[in-house]
């Protein structure tokens, strides 16, 4: 491959052993940077021959320990394979290399008034390869779903004698070529192969949008408004929520043209210039009738940004991090554990109530926010990562939050994946669903793709 594509300096290699969850992996022998598909093939072929564990990585913004190395091996960083290879408007797809950042892809697509709608909070740095392997979602999930709804095909390198590259899936929406192996790669977290190229569906940018940011004194009133919107035919692409305590912390230090007081509810709906006002009137009236004391509306993304409608919601992680920093003082390393459960949207009110109660039981300040349009909640707790006792208590809290999701008919992970953090949770979910045998099936699938168990060993299963 050439020396320039391999770095074994420990000071650089260690940068590829971490992620924002605070989970730290073990040292690796080297980081390898493929620049084209044949490099990936060579890496897989060589690793297979010499039994070297491989940890594929995008930008390491995952939150469940998904890509950190666990044993001596190599990290394969896909960051240099970052080209948009084809934009096909007529056939509605793009072909990209795995290292393309999601926002960079959207910047290219915007030239054609198109978009790739999956938008995790980390989309400014998250890569397509990472998003496929993590099964990423985002704020637009209520209408547009997650990566599994937008992946058409992949070219996948597997660890065998040849370092084979397989074409899985089709360039068309309709595709019935046996088992759906392309979508099997979604959420596989680098345990089955290395994506060298992805074919993704794209969609036109909406003609217009309207937004309403509202605040409610009563959580129950907000939840009723949410359920009413779900019943309506408004079909929002964005339904974001934060509880009142979280709003207080997340709005500190923000200079806002409104008073952020109470439980926050942010709704975004795609419209046309003809329907803008009618839909906004319907939405405002619905929010008012359910007791919203403050409603700020906007036509289009620019006005929504100018009026700072997204500012508090976007400051959720920052608010949590700064609150923890203040609480823990200057000593120690802080860590923010972000949960990622999903429940049927109708069960969101119950889930929020139970999570609040759980926080009180543990004495934690739990920040509760989430993409409630698709039932995805991200309760988060910040703590001193060097306090082992506290870490154990947070992990126990994590476990109990997952139990709440299962009891309400949901799942332990919506979009962050299993990684290391939720391996027990996956088992718990399958046991809860009386389907533990599925775990064995998953292990067999892993073995069929990766018989020597070299790809991201120790993760998911």
């Amino acid at each position: 491959m050439g020396k320039a594509k391999v770095i074994d300096d420990p000071a650089i290699a260690i940068l590829y052993t971490r992620e924002p969850s605070g989970i730290r992996g073990s040292h690796v022998k080297a980081v390898v940077f493929p620049e084209e598909e044949k490099d990936v093939s060579l890496i897989l072929k060589t690793a297979y021959k010499y039994n070297v564990p491989i940890y594929p990585q995008g930008s390491s913004t995952s939150l469940s320990g998904n890509s950190v190395p666990l044993e001596p091996g190599i990290v394969v960083s896909m960051e240099r394979m970052n080209r948009v290879l084809e934009i096909n408007i007529v056939d509605n797809y793009v072909v990209v290399e795995p290292g393309v950042r999601m926002e960079d892809l959207n910047a290219e697509l915007a030239k054609y008034r198109y978009m790739f709608p999956v938008d995790p909070a980390s989309s400014s740095v998250a890569t397509i390869g990472g998003a496929i392997n993590n099964g990423a979602g985002g704020l637009r999930g209520a209408k547009y779903g997650t990566m599994r709804d937008w992946l058409l095909a992949v070219r996948l390198g597997i660890a065998d004698e040849e370092g084979s590259i397989l074409n899985l899936g089709c360039y068309t929406v309709k595709c019935r070529s046996g088992y759906d192996l392309a979508r099997l790669i979604v959420g596989s977290e680098g345990t089955l192969g290395i994506v060298t190229r992805a074919v993704l569906r794209i969609t036109p940018l909406p003609e217009d949008t309207v937004y309403a940011l509202s605040f409610f004194d009563s959580l129950e009133d907000l939840m009723e408004a949410f359920i009413e919107i779900r019943r309506s035919r408004l079909n929002p692409f964005m339904l974001e929520f934060m509880d009142s305590a979280t709003v207080d912390y997340a709005s500190k230090s923000l200079d806002l043209p409104y008073e952020p007081k109470g439980n926050l509810f942010l709704v975004g709906i795609e419209t046309s210039p003809e329907s803008n006002q009618r839909i906004l009137d319907t939405l405002t009236s619905l929010l008012e009738s359910h007791g919203a004391h403050t409603i700020i509306t906007a036509h289009g993304d620019k006005e929504a940004h100018d009026k700072k409608l997204f500012a508090v919601r976007k400051n959720l992680f920052t608010g949590q991090a700064r609150y923890t920093l203040e609480k823990e003082g200057s000593s120690g390393r802080i860590m923010v554990m972000i949960e990622d459960i999903v429940v049927p949207p109708s069960k969101v009110p119950e889930a929020v109530t139970l999570i609040r109660g759980l926080g009180e039981k543990y004495g934690f300040t739990v920040f509760i926010g989430g993409h409630i349009g698709d039932g995805n909640l991200h309760p988060a707790v910040g703590f001193n990562a060097e306090d082992e006792e506290e870490r154990k208590r947070v992990e126990q809290w994590f476990h109990e939050v997952m139990e709440i999701a299962l009891k309400l008919g949901g799942s332990i992970s919506a979009e962050h994946g299993i990684g290391l953090l939720k391996k027990q949770g996956l088992r718990m979910e399958l046991e809860y669903k009386n389907s533990l045998k599925a775990l064995q099936l998953m292990k067999e699938i892993k073995k069929a793709f990766d018989p020597k168990g070299l790809l991201n060993p120790g993760k998911v299963l």
């Binding site: 000071a11 650089i12 992620e19 940077f33 913004t61 960051e79 240099r80 980390s122 700064r322």
Partner: protein
């Protein structure tokens, strides 16, 4: 706190590793690895200050490839003083006894910086 080494440990040690800083960094897309972005540099500075890594050529190139433009600081959720961390870390690698190979690395990065 006047001791640059202690100051790096106090500040850089807080990095959450979210990577949001990399989105705005002008050198990150041009560099060959994560060390050419703020997240990498801050963590290299921390390890260097703690004595966990040596000032290898890669380390020097990482620290000197920074333009000190502070774009990254706009995105940092905990408002780390990233440019200050980099300046202090450069002071550590430039302590007396700088090896010729390190000088070579600095010169190489200056060429890189002019190109960007």
């Amino acid at each position: 706190m006047n001791d640059p080494r202690a100051r790096i440990i106090e500040t850089a040690g807080k990095c959450l590793y979210c990577g949001f800083c990399e989105a705005l960094c002008p050198t990150r897309p041009l560099g060959p690895h994560r060390g050419y972005g703020p997240r990498g540099r801050v963590n290299i500075a921390y390890m260097l200050a703690k004595g966990d890594v040596e000032a290898s050529n890669h380390v020097v190139e990482s620290l000197y490839s920074c333009l000190l433009c502070r774009a990254c600081e706009l995105k940092c959720p905990i408002a780390l003083p990233i440019a200050e961390i980099i300046r202090n870390a450069r002071g550590l690698v430039a302590e007396p006894g700088l090896k010729a190979s390190r000088t070579h690395s600095i010169n190489r990065v200056q060429v890189f910086a002019r190109r960007t």
